[in-house]
Every structure is written in C-alpha cells, then in structure tokens.
Amino acid sequence: MSLLQTTDLVKQFGGLTAVDGVSVGIDRGTVQAIIGPNGAGKTTFINCVSGLLDPTSGTVEFDGEDITGMPPHETVQQGISKSFQTASIFPTMTVEENVQIAAFGAEHGSFRFNFLKKRSDYNAVQDRTERMLRSVELWEDRNVQAQSLPYGDKRRLEIAIALASEPELLFMDEPTAGMSPDETRQTVDLIEELREELGLTIVLVEHDMEVIFRVADKITVLHRGAIIANAAPEQIRGDEQVQEAYLGGAEI
C-alpha cells in the first residue's frame, strides 16, 4: 500500500483549476519526482497535501488515514515534513536554535503548560538537535546566526529543520534551486543518504533533470494541473507526450 495516496485531488482558484483531478500513490521508501512546466500545479499540489491550502475536492490519505484539509502543524505531526522553495529559516536566531524549534515541535506534548522549565533540560530535544545538525554537517556552525550562512548552507539548515520533526515523508520544493554545481552535488548525496539511512520517502519538485534522473525512482509529470505520465525515469525519457508538453519536443 502507498504511504501517500491522493484521490481525484482538485484545487481551484476562482476560475482557474491549478490541480485537476490528481490521483497518485507514493510508495514507502521511494524518491518520487514531480516535474512539469511552470504553472503546471506542482507547488499547489504539494500545498494541498501538506495543509497550506485546502483542496477544493478529492482526498489525501497518509499511512491509511484521511488527512484532507488538516492544517500544516497537524500534517507535520502525522509525519509529513517540507522544505521550502526559498530557504525558510529563522534568520536572526542561531543555527542550533533553528533546529531546536523543530525538535521541540516533535515533542510538542511534553511542555503543554510548562512555562518555566529550561530548554536545556529537555535532553531528548538536545540530542535530536545535535544529530540533525551533524547529519547536514552544520554542527560546527551551530552558534552562527542563520542569516549569515552561505545560501547552500541555509538550504541544508532548512533540510535539518524539516528532518528534526522526524518525518516519514519529506517534500522538497526545488532543493537545488540557486545552488552552485558543488552544492548541488552535495545536496544530491544528502538526498540519497536520507533515503538509505533513514528510510525516508521523498517527494521532489525539481527542474534540474540531471538531479532527477540520478535520484528519482519514479517521475510524475504534471501539465496544466493534470498527470500526463507517471512512470520510471527510463520510460519518461522516451514518452512522446511528455516531450511534447514539457520539453517542447527536444530530446533529453
């Protein structure tokens, strides 16, 4: 059974149908890429699943449970996490604090009305923060203000934030956008590590075809809000409809 399953998901903004009846299943432990030209509805689709937007109709099931229309903080508690297109961090807080917040998010039940207990007394949170920062190799920079990190590090910090809530499914919205070739390579390595070591299921929106063909197990192609292909990379490469819609007929 799929970890995430959407059924006839539709999102309309006034007269515009941004997501048009998308039914897709994402298997546990796989990396699934979503591609499509600008305005194809990739980000809207992710937002409908993660709770930032309410879908107009259709359902979203996660791990067998209906999560349609749940607000973001609840979908995160269910095990869905997200890294944003632009590094979404807490700019004037330290790198460590940035990840700490997420680690507390995962422990949200443990301090309901405990206003006076010190942060440093939550050992599990401290441990998790350190582990996440080490996994993205930012532990050495933990006392640096997040806004003064180089761009690639900001993106990696954001991935650490997303991971600290210990998700089963991670959405990554263009994780390599704006990165140098070096940073892109590091990020691709990181994605592969995450899947192998943590068994994460990853949904990737990406424009860089090289990245996609290296990491994706399956590719979903959206065009005008609808799925026009959903198959393994080799098949997508040869799909004429995809080439017509997305690549303007060019060979990949």
Partner: protein, 381 residues
C-alpha cells in the same frame, strides 16, 4: 543589514555575561533596591546644586515599577512574538477595577493582585482568541477596538461598578499580611531611606518576581517559539507547532503582567478613572515604553518605563525660560526624547547602551592586543 549583524555579534559577549540567572536576579535586586535612593535623594541633591527641580518624589519609584511590570509582560508579546497590541489597557484597567472592587471586602494587597490577575487573564482568553486570528495592522486595530469597548463600558453601562466618569475612589487597601501599612516607611529612623515605603518593597518584590518569571519563560521552549513566531510563522507551523495556540499563550501571559500592574496601580493611586485605566492612550503608552527601553530585551522595557514616567512626572514640573511651565506639554518633551532615542539607539535604550559598551570594550581589548603584538614585533626586531 551589516550593522544589524554587527550589533547582534556584539551582544553575544553581553549575553554570555548575563546568561546566568543568578547574576541577572542579583543585579536586578541591587538596581531595584537603589532606585528610590537614586531617584529621590540622589537626583534631589543634584537638583539642589543646579537649583532645578529634577528630583523624584517618594511615590515615583513605585509607579515606575508598576509600569515596569506591565511592560516586561507586554514585551513578551511585542518584542519577541512580534504582535503589536494596541489594547493592553484592557487588561491593565481590568486588573485595577477588579482589585478596587475586591478591596472593598478584602483589603489584602496580595489578594487584590491575585484577583486582578485572575480576571485580566479570563478576559484575555476570548479577546486574544479573536485578535490573533489576524496579523499586522488588523491585529493592532482589533485589540484597540476591544480596549475602547471596555473604555466606553466603564464610562457608561459599567458605571454601577466603575463609578463611570467620576472615577473609582473607594479603595480599601489594607496592610500587607495584616501588619505592614503600605504608606509607612520601612526604616522610619534612617533619614536617607525615607523613600522606602512598604508599598515600594511590595512592588519591588513583585517586579523581581515578574523579571524572574519572564526570564524563565524566555529560556523555556515557549521563549524559543515566541521568538520564532516573530520571525517566520509559516515555518513554525511546518515544524508541527500550532501557531494560534502559542500566539494565544503569549497574549495571555502578557495580560497576566498587565493585570498585576493594574491592581498595583489602583493600590498606589487609591483612584482610577476610565482615562487612566482603559483609554487607548494608556495602551499606546505601553507600546512607547517598550520600544523606548528596548523591545526584545528582558529588562529593556523597565528602562523605558523609567524614562517615560520621569518625563511625565518630573520634567513636566520644570519651568523653562521661554515657554514657561512644561506642565501638560510634557508629551511634547516625551516626543522629542523618543525621537532622539530611536534615532541614536534604534533598538531601544538598554540594548543600544549595552551594545555600545560591549563594542567599546571589544575595541579596547583589540587595542590592547594590537599594542602587545606591536611591542613583541619591536622586540624581535
């Protein structure tokens, strides 16, 4: 951008120094203990030398700390969570009226404060619940509206309780713990400690408690989340935290402090009028004090309350050569002070002065270091 980073970098040393809770509490206790002497006697001596009445009077230190308590809490909302409420007089005034009404049957100051806090918290819940659903200007306007609703309620339909426009004056504050009269001096036989009344001691202890609580909140997970909310709400919800819940908590916590301040206010003044309790200008004053002193620093707003009340109560009594008595023109003076301070210390008086000192300290250290390096260079040559 670069100056911002520089300032933050500079403050790292300062936080390292004041990181220990004990140091903070002891320093604050010393400051609160010396405040009446400095303000009343110390300034008084200077005033006599200059022949200029700039000394404080006996009740002023209490008044400063009352507003100090309010803005310590208000700052958790404005300075950390980034929510600009223009309606905190609602909780201040409620604390005052409730304490006043309670004092008619139970005169214990402790009971009065607890009652004021309880009812202020109770009304903060629904007001906060509605207000935090909007952000920015809309949040400010909604809170302003709630404050004004209570103001007109106190003037009109609520006058059976508040005595409307005549003001509430039947305050029956008793002695603390049944023994210590608020107005009497703690050391009646020591001349230079005449300004230390039991009222001041009581309020100073509560102010210390307020600082301690605010400090612990800031060091708890809540503090981290409040600060995070001030920077990036969307990310907070995407780490699994319910944004509305934590904003509501920040709102209610700040109302607790405002309620306590209101209860102390009526104890101190023995009188409260809708204008000093609920009027929107009162809410605005909390904003000014907080920004003046330093929003986003724990003790900063107390300095703001000091400057504000000093201008309002002491400088307003001055008489200047050309314009004559300042009197009710004190808000113009305050405005000038505000402009100068925001200009020179955009982050507020306390963070501004602290960063300045730290930076100067760092520069001195660098100078010494480079001297040493230069000397060593000289030796080797």
């Amino acid at each position: 951008m670069s100056t911002e980073t520089e300032g933050e970098g500079g403050s790292v040393g300062a936080t390292g120094l004041t990181d220990s809770d004990a140091v903070l509490m002891i320093a604050s206790a010393v400051a609160l203990f010396s405040l009446p002497w400095v303000l009343v006697d110390g300034f008084g001596i200077v005033a006599e030398m200059l022949d200029f009445s700039i000394g404080g009077y006996v009740g002023l230190p209490s008044l400063i700390l009352i507003y100090g308590i309010v803005v310590i809490g208000y700052n958790l909302l404005l300075g950390y969570t980034g929510l600009l409420s223009f309606g905190h007089a609602a909780f201040f005034g409620t604390g005052a009226y409730v304490a006043g009404v309670v004092s008619q049957s139970v005169g214990s100051p402790i009971v009065m404060v607890l009652a004021g806090i309880a009812v202020a918290t109770l009304i903060a819940w629904p007001i906060g619940w509605v207000s935090i659903r909007r952000t920015g200007v809309y949040f400010a306007v909604i809170t302003l509206t709630f404050g004004q609703m209570l103001y007109f309620w106190a003037l009109g339909p609520g006058s059976w309780l508040t005595n409307g426009d005549n003001g509430f004056s039947e305050v029956g504050t008793g002695p603390i713990l049944g023994t210590f009269e608020l107005d009497s001096a703690v050391f009646p036989n020591i001349g230079f400690l005449q300004s230390y009344t039991y009222e001041y001691v009581f309020i100073a202890i509560l102010a210390l408690l307020a600082l301690w609580i605010a400090n612990r909140i800031l060091k708890s997970p809540y503090g981290l989340i409040f600060e995070a909310l001030g920077q990036n709400q969307q990310r907070v919800s995407f780490v699994g935290l319910n944004v509305q819940r934590y904003k509501l908590m920040a709102f209610i916590i700040s109302a607790v402090f405002a309620g306590a301040g209101g209860a102390l206010f009526i104890m101190h003044e023995n009188y409260v009028h809708p204008n000093t309790a609920y009027y929107w200008i009162q809410s605005g004053d909390f904003v000014i004090m907080t920004i003046l002193g330093g929003a986003g620093s724990l003790v900063g707003p107390v300095f703001g309350a000091f400057i504000f009340e000093y201008v309002a109560n002491v400088l307003s009594g001055l008489s200047l050569p050309v314009i004559g008595a300042i009197g009710s023109l004190w808000r113009i003076v305050l405005g000038a002070v505000f402009v100068v301070i925001v200009w020179t210390f955009p982050k507020g008086v306390y963070p501004g002065v602290r960063d300045f000192l730290v930076r100067r300290g760092a520069r001195d250290a660098l100078d010494r270091l480079s001297d040493r390096v230069r000397n060593r260079g000289g030796e080797s040559e």
